[in-house]
Amino acid sequence: MSKAVSWRVALVFGALAALPLTPWMSKYYMLLAFDALLFGAVAMSLDLLMGYTGLVSFGHAAFFGLGAYSTAVLLERGVLSLWLCLGLAVVVVGAYALTVSYFATTRRGIYFALLTLIFAEVVYTFFRYTQTFGGSDGIQGLPAPQLLPGVAIDTPVRIYYLVVAYLLLAYLACRVLVWSHFGRVLVAIRENEDRARFLGYNVQRYKMGVCLISAILTGLAGALYPGRAAYATPDLLHWSISGEFIIMVMIGGLGTLVGPIIGGAFFILLQEKVSSYVEWYSIIVGLVLVLIVLFAPRGLLSFRRAPRGRPGGEAA
């Protein structure tokens, strides 16, 4: 990472860390900020697939939801360690992601998207109708997870710092990944999959690899969610959530990592603000999104980036 970029990252995260110190950060705003950053992180991990590899996943809600249920199941049974919750999420989401990506990566384009969607619908249906996991009510009234024994993450400020830390680590991991040998191959696959094969790259292996990484990052974000909401419900697994993730990436700017974070945060804030004034908020939200796609097709980030900054190009 270049020096200028490191400074910018330090500045942004410094500001995020200082946010709770400002006087107008009520409990409500702390949790809203949590949501904005959490879904920004999810959009960023989806960008690894959409922006860098050229794969559109229509099933990321399943990774998110499975992460959330992993945490919920443990908290419900009195296992309060955050680290165990995250660990279980990695195992569950990882196993599921390997299965899905093994089948989905044998197909391209719309068929890949459809296969991810179909698998995610199976997961949704399973949790929606399985009483062990609370059926349509999900798992409710969960205790707060603990960072260390006795140190519960039970205040909005604590849970907020947790998501800031997660976003920072996930961002750095993604930055290194897209810069690396592996990341260069992903971009090559996006640009011309067949050419990459004839250069000796086992394309399916790379695609499965990036699906796994993207899924685990999304699942970890999901695993943090019950710490804020105290529940996990089948709604988190619904296909419309997957659609929202895609919209976040699109409005932020494909293949930029930072763009989707902004896109995710923007989407959450817009939805929350508009819905607190009018009931038919989705019409307004939809309208704003249409305007963005029409006037900034390369995403919100394109307003301040020179047009030369190609997705996945030299930026590293």
Binding site: S180, H181, F198, L199, G200
Partner: protein, 252 residues
């Protein structure tokens, strides 16, 4: 391995439904030679290349590279056995820089490739990349997006991609397609020179007879999926069957 035989195509057939694109074609390519495959449009030349390079599995027959059978293996595996290919229609990474194109090809051969640390490390392949770009006169264009290069430059870039994987056998599918006569002459000389200096064996598809006659050690002629002649350029030029195929069939 027989002495000096690099590639053996043994009685390969390939059908697409009822269409027999290749019928029992056999070729033997020796190490270090430039071997050309010619024939009218639709003779099965590109299909033959795609079978050898692993895009299609043959319906019947065997392909042996450096003494090992490669029939039916995927292109990524065959590439690791020492075979690289360019395509009749330019096949590059259009949306990234010329330099990044060659870099991603070159890093396919570093020990790091395919290992876990490749997730967080990036190999330094600057040396070989710059060397290839210089050989094809692309050094000054390396920061351009590949899609902004001229047609001729893109053809060169594709050869760079293939060479960056350090092949023993290079398959060139009409490398001069769409070039002006002047460019064709330059490209032919360059290919010959680079093949010599790298000790490469080249299997070439070409329909420009002047290119083929000037560059090839041996030539095979395909016609409607069958090999009708094979030999040195002089013999091919005077072969009555070849003359008939070219004059009687669709001239291209």
């Amino acid at each position: 391995m027989e002495d000096g035989v690099l590639l053996e195509v043994e009685s390969v057939s390939k059908s697409f439904g009822a269409l027999a694109a290749l019928a029992r074609v056999s070729l033997t390519v020796r190490a270090g030679e430039v071997f050309s495959v010619i024939g009218p449009n639709g003779a099965g030349k590109s299909t033959l290349f795609n079978v050898v390079a692993g895009l299609y599995a043959p319906t019947a027959g065997r392909v042996v590279l450096q003494g090992e059978e490669i029939t039916g293996l995927g292109p990524e595996v065959i590439n690791h056995r020492g075979l690289a290919k360019t395509f009749q229609i330019t096949n590059i990474f259009p949306g990234i820089s010329v330099y990044d194109n060659v870099r991603v090809a070159a890093q396919s051969r570093v020990p790091l490739s395919g290992r876990l640390p490749s997730l967080w490390r990036r190999p330094d392949v600057d040396g070989p990349v710059m060397e290839l770009l210089a050989a094809f006169g692309l050094t000054g264009r390396r920061h351009e997006l590949a899609q902004h290069l001229s047609h001729g430059e893109q053809r060169y870039l594709e050869i760079c991609l293939a060479l960056a994987t350090d092949p023993t056998l290079l398959l060139l599918d009409e490398p001069t397609a769409g070039m002006t006569p002047g460019e064709t002459k330059g490209a032919t000389a360059l290919i010959r020179q680079i093949a010599r200096s790298r000790g490469l064996t080249v299997l070439l598809i070409e329909h420009d007879m002047s290119v083929v006659m000037g560059i090839s050690d041996r030539i095979a002629v395909l016609h409607f999926g069958e090999k009708i002649a094979e030999g040195p350029p002089e013999a091919i030029r005077s072969d009555p069957q070849v003359i008939d195929a070219y004059l009687g069939g669709a001239e291209d």
